[in-house]
Symmetry: C2
Subunit: 255 residues, 2 copies
Amino acid sequence: MPPRPMTAKPRVARPLTRKLSRLVTLAPGEIGILDDLQSATRVIRRNREIITEGRKYDALLILIDGVSIRCRILHDGRRQILNIALPGDFIGFPSAFSERALYSITALSDCVVAPVTFLRLLSLFDSQPKLAAAIFWSFACEAAMYAEHLIDVGRRSALERVAHFLLELLTRLQVIGLADERSFRMPLTQELIGDALGLSVPHVNRTLRQLRDDELVSIEEHIVIIRDVEALSALADFERSYLDQFRLPDMITKC
Amino acid sequence: MPPRPMTAKPRVARPLTRKLSRLVTLAPGEIGILDDLQSATRVIRRNREIITEGRKYDALLILIDGVSIRCRILHDGRRQILNIALPGDFIGFPSAFSERALYSITALSDCVVAPVTFLRLLSLFDSQPKLAAAIFWSFACEAAMYAEHLIDVGRRSALERVAHFLLELLTRLQVIGLADERSFRMPLTQELIGDALGLSVPHVNRTLRQLRDDELVSIEEHIVIIRDVEALSALADFERSYLDQFRLPDMITKC
DNA sequence: CGGTACATTGAAGGGGCTCAATCCACGTGG
DNA sequence: CCACGTGGATTGAGCCCCTTCAATGTACCG
């Protein structure tokens, strides 16, 4: 069994707790349970694999700190990034439900993760319907991001794709307190952006430049500033709502 | 409340039961519970919407019979099909967890669906860990198909895309007994294939023709025959395994 | 100071798109 | 029974977005 260094002390509020708190008013007991889920942690160094394709895994992971990507590399070297995980996200689904993991997950920066067994999750669903609903909501959110990602590569132009990508990243980082009103630190290189959006590196570069020339976005020292959120959203056909909307009041009773 | 016509009698085994039976040996009691889930049904006519974007929904649906698509239409008319649901699939996720449904789901043929409330699902998870694991597996399967879909549009050529699409459809239809060893009835027009794969209609047509010219596939009267599964799989980088692999033995105990 | 990683820019080519015409099967109403 | 309309398949011509290949710039780091 690999060593399991503990993080000395969480620097900020546990990210999943923070994320779910934005949706639902959590009772102290519920906060305690959530924090508990995120307490036993493991550290993975930058560029190492968190999950390796073909191996077998027994638990989901909550990403506590850092950024990771799940991707597939075709035989000739083409690569497609399937999703980008930020703190507070679950990773390792669907790997934990297959005999062998289907995709690798790689740490882009040093990462801290907390394992959650399937049984633990089920018992949580049983005893905490409110938390269950909130966690299901975060899965639903992820499904929506997948859908938008598919629309990106399937039907949007390079300009629309990159615009949409920047806006989604801004919104997601805001939710966990890692971005302010209009700006954030870009955690990806242009090559990674290209592999996420199905574009070549030169074209990502040209597209970013055009967004700068059009004064919609500015990028300096890896800091992205969205100069005109409205205009960029219109260009990208971006609806913030798919990451926001949630209903709890009637959900538990009526569903 | 809309009328809820009951189907007279299921013509074949309930599709979700059939699907999960292929993975797990189900006890008679478990089969009964599964069949129960699929008993109260509603019929939706061809070309009508099962779920309408912007509306509010309280339950997931199990598709019992027919084919449906979830899709998004951009302001200028471009359309991206997000997924294709076949009998035995859950639909309405993530719609049921948002204040307003994010995407429409349309019946391509006359469809029969069975609603399942969130609470019912949770209680099932609690009382039937084996079924819970199997249902989670089917969600995992769907996630894997999403991933492959993303790779299709992001990094595969038109030829690879169409080849992969045909093989995935073959495999999925086989699981529910709607395809034989090498052939099936294509439920989509070329326009729909294009909207699923991010291609134009003329190019879908040319691509299908090339597959025919290369004697990999033949299509007549909407019947698709994969003439060389091996070669087509190699071309498409298709691994059947992502729709097959499942482990139950240790999952419930160890996870 | 050389090496590595990343960003940037140019030139040329191609894969897939748009636009357009044609064909075919089928249903429907006169 | 035929004329017509409609939905879908098929094919061609021209073009454009994005790719590939290549070179250069630049910051950082051992």
